[in-house]
Amino acid sequence: MSALSNTGGGILKGMRLTFKHLFRPWITVQYPEEKLTMSKRIRGTQVIWVKETCIACLACARACPVKAINMEVSRGEDRKLKVDHMSIDFGLCVFCGLCVESCPTKTSIYMGYGYETTTYRCTNVEKAEGQSRSECRCRELILTGDELAPSATRVLSGYDRPDAAEKLAEQTLLINKKGYFER
């Protein structure tokens, strides 16, 4: 091949390589039919709030860098703090996971395992006086109270929660894909 350098030898080498790739299995995933198991620590597009264990300490609201968490607490008759209102604006949320890490109980707020939260359009727009279009909030993306609770579609992710991670399936890795490593 060296005699052919600068004469098309390099091109031929490259063409041989692409020809070899013709017989390798493809690496892309046919998404809606075929789904990968995500990482156990996935920071999906959900944040799950467990009302029962929450001690209303506001640590998550304070940790949030974009102030997406809106939590109002008051002191009840038994001198205990209770949550009056809890809402998270997923139009603002950057899914950084700082709220999950800051939680002192380690059982009250979780990242979600799900990542399919697309909606087609935003029908309810919350617009205050004098706000521009880009500043207004989409109400469908603001989840309040019980909407934040875990459910069948809102599975807890193992992000900073090792006990939740144990319940999740192994992540699929391209590197373990069968029939892929022979070169």
Binding site: T7, G8, I11, G14, M15, R24, W26, I27, Q30
Partner: protein, 353 residues
């Protein structure tokens, strides 16, 4: 109705059907194969194996809004896709699908095809000029420079075949190929394929629509069915070039056992696959390198090919075919190696005050 009109009507329908169907098939094949080269499956949603994808695309293109830029030269803008598309269709008139199975067996067949195919450039230039966009203009400028210069090696490489056959009729050329001319004219085939790929703007000569540089070149401003016509034209051109290469060099419809039409289509597909393969592998050249490759490399090679062919015909008309094939292939490799050592690309940086 006379036989002439029946013949004309039948073949017009067959031709149009053949071209449209195979262009759709080609689009599917190309996307599918490029996908496989790139480790992905390619279009696989519409219909079995994604076979209906080009039809879905065609419907989408048809019902799209037709945008005409306000500052454009509207008449020319309108006319350009037609001027580019019609000559490509005309080219198929003289291509034999089987023995004599063609619209007209012109006795100047190959000359006619070359003449008609050159008109496409005007359509492309009209599109680039009338769009009133700088990207389109750059693309059109590149096209003119490229297509005009590659016409010469293209014609010269075909001349070798014509000399061997002694006829310009496409059907006669096929009949004369007891041995496919690719073996007798390997150099001619190489020059023809290179020049033809430049003529139809396939990688690595796809400068006029270099996506990473000038967006889409001459059809940046086109949309809807006008864009569809350009798209169709490109693939029809590929089909035409593959068909001509098959006819001139690969023995056309000739072949044992199977029906001639099947042989013809198989050979066309082989050439097309090769073009896809090249497209999947290599990057594109720069405009001055394309010009240098045409003028400094392909042109001398095609001239050399002409001289060698003439010499073989005159000096050794009765030589054993097998020996001749050996000599020709050796000469091809020798010349390519020699020329690639000699020619300099030059160009590069231009000093700007």
């Amino acid at each position: 109705m006379s036989d002439f009109w029946v013949h004309l009507l039948v073949y017009l329908v067959i031709l149009f059907g053949f071209v449209i169907v195979s262009v759709l098939l080609f689009i599917w094949l190309e996307r599918r194969f490029i996908g496989r080269f790139q480790l992905r499956p390619g279009p696989n949603r519409a219909g079995p194996f994604g076979l209906l994808q080009p039809i879905a695309d065609a419907i989408k293109v048809l019902i799209k809004e037709d945008i005409i830029p306000t500052e454009s030269d509207k008449g020319v803008f309108w006319l350009a896709p037609l001027v580019a598309f019609v000559p490509v269709m005309l080219m198929f008139a003289a291509i034999p699908f089987a023995d004599g199975a063609m619209l007209v067996d012109l006795n100047i067949g190959i000359l006619y095809i070359l003449a008609v195919s050159s008109v496409t450039v005007i359509g492309i230039f009209m599109a680039g000029w009338s769009s009133n966009s700088k990207y389109s203009l750059l693309g059109a400028m590149r096209t003119i420079a490229q297509e005009v210069s590659y016409e010469i090696p293209l014609v010269l490489s075909i001349l070798g075949v014509v000399m061997l056959t002694g006829s310009l009729s496409m059907n006669e050329i096929v009949k004369a190929q007891s041995v496919p001319f690719v073996l007798l004219q390997p150099l001619g085939f190489f020059v023809y394929l290179s020049a033809a790929m430049a003529e139809i703007n396939r990688t690595p000569f796809d400068l006029l629509e270099a996506e990473s540089e000038i967006i889409a070149g001459f059809h940046t401003e086109y949309s809807g069915m006008k864009f569809g016509l350009f798209y169709l034209m490109e693939y029809a051109e590929v089909l035409a070039i593959s068909a001509i290469a098959t006819t001139l060099f690969l023995g056309g419809w000739q072949g044992p056992l199977l029906h001639p039409v099947i042989w013809f289509i198989t050979k066309v597909l082989i050439i097309f696959m090769f073009i896809i393969w090249v497209r999947a592998t290599i990057p594109r050249l720069r405009i001055d390198q394309v010009m240098a490759f045409g003028w400094k490399f392909l042109l001398p090679l095609s001239l050399a090919n002409l001289v060698i062919t003439a010499f073989e015909i005159l000096a050794a008309p009765d030589m054993n075919t097998a020996v001749l094939i050996g000599i020709n292939i050796a000469v091809m490799f020798g010349l390519i190696l020699l020329f690639s050592r000699f020619y300099k690309l030059g160009g590069g940086r231009v000093s700007v005050k």
